[in-house]
């Protein structure tokens, strides 16, 4: 089985999907990596246009968003003028399905152990109710991580996003120990063969964080390349529960995956929005709405046995 998979992957063919309506504008471009086999056997009726100009049929399940051509390093460091990006996560809607994590991993070609947005099962105290807690990078306004970087490889942009330049990072991991939210991941080894094949030929930019390099740090980047195209970050558009909102604080508007745009200030006011571990003073740009009136079963806390054994209490924390 595995052998077969490998050879399939080697036959990958890069195709761009252009749906009928957008051929004229060419604005909406998808990239997909499908095998020739898929083309032959696919029953789906999506028509894709390959880079060779020929037309193929493809299963939409196999399609991936194309990363926009990267902006220059200087632009990536400056950020988008006039914006202040924020995310709002509604714990009352999150049912812990981890679709956001999956979407993120697909977008950034990550190994399965790297969850840039990770869904925790939280329980603040013995007597309080447990809830799901998706946690991306908070893109803190007073970021402990960028402060300690000796080479300015991780930096804060004017639009509020905290990024890492992995062509500059020296791998000292100061930022990892400084981040109070365990947000950062280190590339302890070379990326796997499969992964490097998938991203081969892509041009690096801190805005898309790929291709990754051994000995450097990576983390959630708020998908700035998607934002530049006017799209939502992968996790937000991947959330089937509409639990994640993303938007611009200056416009006071945030949008969720079904395209609903709401006023940020009203959303926070009506739902008693808060930020995680406010007392640390890191000023996160990610807000949470408390898990009130949930429509789904609460998290099952019992399959964290191994963590309990280690003496690490799984649910609680400040």
């Amino acid at each position: 089985m595995k052998e077969e998979n490998k050879s399939n992957r080697r036959n990958f063919l890069k195709l761009g999907l252009i749906t009928g309506g957008t051929i004229a504008t060419g604005a909406l471009v998808f990239e997909k990596v499908i095998s020739k086999n898929d083309v032959a056997t696919s029953t789906a009726d999506t028509i894709v246009c390959g880079p060779d100009g020929k037309v193929y049929k493809a299963d939409p399940m196999h399609l991936k968003e194309l990363h926009a051509p990267p902006v220059s390093m200087d632009e990536a460091r400056l950020g988008i003028e006039g914006k202040k990006f924020v995310m709002v996560i509604d714990e009352a809607k999150c049912d812990g399905c981890k679709k956001c994590t999956e979407a993120c991993q697909k977008m950034h070609y990550t190994e399965s152990d790297r969850e840039w947005i990770k869904v925790f099962k939280m329980k603040d105290a013995e007597t309080t109710s447990p809830y799901f807690f998706p946690k991306p990078c908070f893109h803190c306004d007073n970021p402990p991580c960028t402060k300690v970087c000796p080479v300015n490889a991780t930096f804060k942009r004017q639009d509020g996003i905290v990024l890492i330049d992995n062509t500059r990072c020296i791998g000292c991991r100061s930022c990892m120990v400084a981040c109070p939210y365990s947000t950062r991941f280190f590339n302890w080894s070379e990326p796997s063969v499969q992964q490097s094949q998938e991203v081969a030929g892509m041009q690096y930019s801190p805005e898309q964080s790929i291709p990754r390099k051994m000995g450097t740090v990576e983390k959630c980047d708020f998908c700035p390349d998607m934002i530049r195209q006017g799209k939502l970050p992968a996790c937000v558009s991947g959330c089937p529960m509409d639990a994640l909102y993303f938007g611009d604080q200056n416009e006071d508007a945030v949008t969720n995956s079904s395209g609903l745009t709401v006023k940020l200030s009203h959303l926070l006011e009506d739902n008693a929005g808060y930020r995680h571990l406010e007392e640390l003073g890191t000023e996160p740009r990610v807000y949470y709405l408390p898990p009130k009136n949930r429509k789904y079963p609460k998290p099952d806390l019992n399959h964290n046995e191994d963590e309990k054994e280690k003496g690490v209490k799984p649910m609680d924390m400040i």
Binding site: D113, F120, V148, C172, K310
Partner: protein
């Protein structure tokens, strides 16, 4: 050492993934060892600088070995974080893009300063000795001897022992002695800052600076005693390094251990009284969790026990004192590990559903080999040094002997004079009575 080198190449090629470090425990044995080596390096210079400033005569035979220990452990201490880097090939970025706002940069700056300073501190008092070696060395035809002679000549910097040269040396030494102390204190303070400047439970502490400095002095001075004892045995210096030296150094270590114990109390008792959530989890783990055995062994074995032993004069005799110092040095090393690792295992976010090796840490063979290699390197450099150069500051000891001699002569003279005066007084014993009349 070549094995360690092999391991390092293995690590360079395959990434830090070959170590046991993972995303939660992203600093491990290397960084602990870094802190430990830097701690040991305080010994020297600080011990010999403080003793020099306070004009302790007994320091003379031990300053050189203390300074050497500083020099070498600083050298290898500086290498540790480079070994720990994910991208040592980009080390030039520190110069190109360096940010002084980063605590790591403070470390680099102050360690470099300290390294230059302690090299000078080691080298300056060696100049007259080099001249001595130059003048005394017999040139045979072997290359090594020739090289030695050449080296001595170069290092003596044309020292001839004139008055003005002595004067200049003395002045420079005085300045260096004073300058090196704040530098040494700053070094370990900023080493502690790479931890204390984070928000992590266990590190987010205001006593970390003095705590680390005290820990450094305590382990460093114990290291000096061990070095002293080793040289005494190897080179039969019993005449110069006497029981008195051990007794006095023992007292010094005792004092430093007491300070360290006091800071330890502050470091753990204050948060333990409050048991705030984050700190509480960590402390529970230290007090009666996974790390409790090591933690209490350290507190009793390497802090309280040495205090108890060294409080008695018998505990300051070479054998017992050396055993105590071995305990202290090893204890200090393990203590660094206990400061670094458990905190990393207690982040604010719960550790959930991660690969098994992320949530545990114990250094693996690669880390142990490389660290052992560095330790071996320290011994190697010391041995090489001892082969080439005198391990005692010959002139300082001579000067000490001279001073002692002068003192004895002075006492003699004073005694004589007193005797004479007494005799005189006796002669004119009636004079006062006349005066009264």
């Amino acid at each position: 050492m070549s094995w360690a080198l092999f391991c390092y190449i293995h690590q360079l090629r395959n990434g830090l993934g070959v170590t046991a470090m993972r995303n939660y425990v992203s600093w491990g044995l290397y960084i602990s060892t870094f802190v430990f080596f830097i701690g040991i390096s305080h010994s020297g210079t600080l011990v010999s600088a403080i003793l020099r400033i306070s004009k302790q005569e007994w320091r003379r035979p031990i300053t050189r070995s203390a300074e050497l220990l500083t020099f070498v452990s600083l050298l290898f201490g500086g290498i540790m974080p480079i070994i720990d880097l994910g991208r040592p090939d980009r080390i030039a970025n520190l110069v190109i893009f360096g940010r002084v706002q980063s605590p790591l940069m403070w470390d680099i700056i102050s360690i470099c300063t300290y390294f230059c300073g302690s090299t000078m501190f080691l080298f300056l008092p060696m100049i007259p000795d080099m001249a001595l070696c130059r003048d005394r060395s017999i040139v045979t035809n072997t290359r090594f001897e020739k090289f030695k002679k050449w080296l001595y000549t170069k290092m003596a910097l044309g020292w001839t022992g004139t008055k003005s040269q002595w004067h200049r040396l003395e002045n420079t030494m005085n300045i260096m002695t004073i300058v090196i102390i704040p530098v040494a204190v700053s070094v370990h303070t900023v080493v502690s800052y790479i931890f204390a400047m984070t928000l992590r439970p266990g590190w987010n502490s205001t006593v970390f600076g003095p705590y680390f400095v005290a820990g450094a002095l305590y382990s460093g001075s114990a290291g000096v005693i061990l070095g002293m004892a080793a040289f005494r045995k190897l080179y039969h210096l019993e005449k110069y390094i006497t029981l008195k030296h051990f007794d006095l150094m023992g007292r010094l270590v005792l004092a430093l251990t007491l300070i360290y114990a006091y800071l330890n109390l502050n470091e753990y008792w204050i948060p333990a009284y409050k048991m705030a959530t984050g700190e509480g989890h960590l402390l529970k783990d230290l007090f009666y969790g996974d790390y409790s055995k090591i933690f209490w062994t350290l507190q009793f074995g390497s802090v309280l026990l040495p205090i108890a032993i060294m409080s008695f004069p018998k505990g300051r005799t070479p054998l017992l004192l050396n055993i105590t110092c071995v305990i202290i040095v090893i204890g200090a090393w393990v203590k660094r590990y206990i400061i670094v690792v458990p905190t990393l295992l207690h982040p604010f976010m719960p550790i959930q559903e991660v690969p098994n090796d992320w949530s545990h840490y114990f250094p693996n063979w690669v880390e142990f080999s490389i660290t052992a290699g560095c330790l071996a390197g320290i011994f190697l450099v010391i041995t090489l040094f001892a082969k080439m150069f005198p391990m005692m500051a010959v002139w300082e000891v001579e000067e000490g002997v001279q001073i002692e001699h002068d003192r004895l002569v002075a006492i003699e003279i004073r005694k004589k004079r007193e005797a004479e005066e007494e005799a005189k007084l006796f002669d004119h014993s009636e004079v006062p009575q006349e005066a009264i009349n």
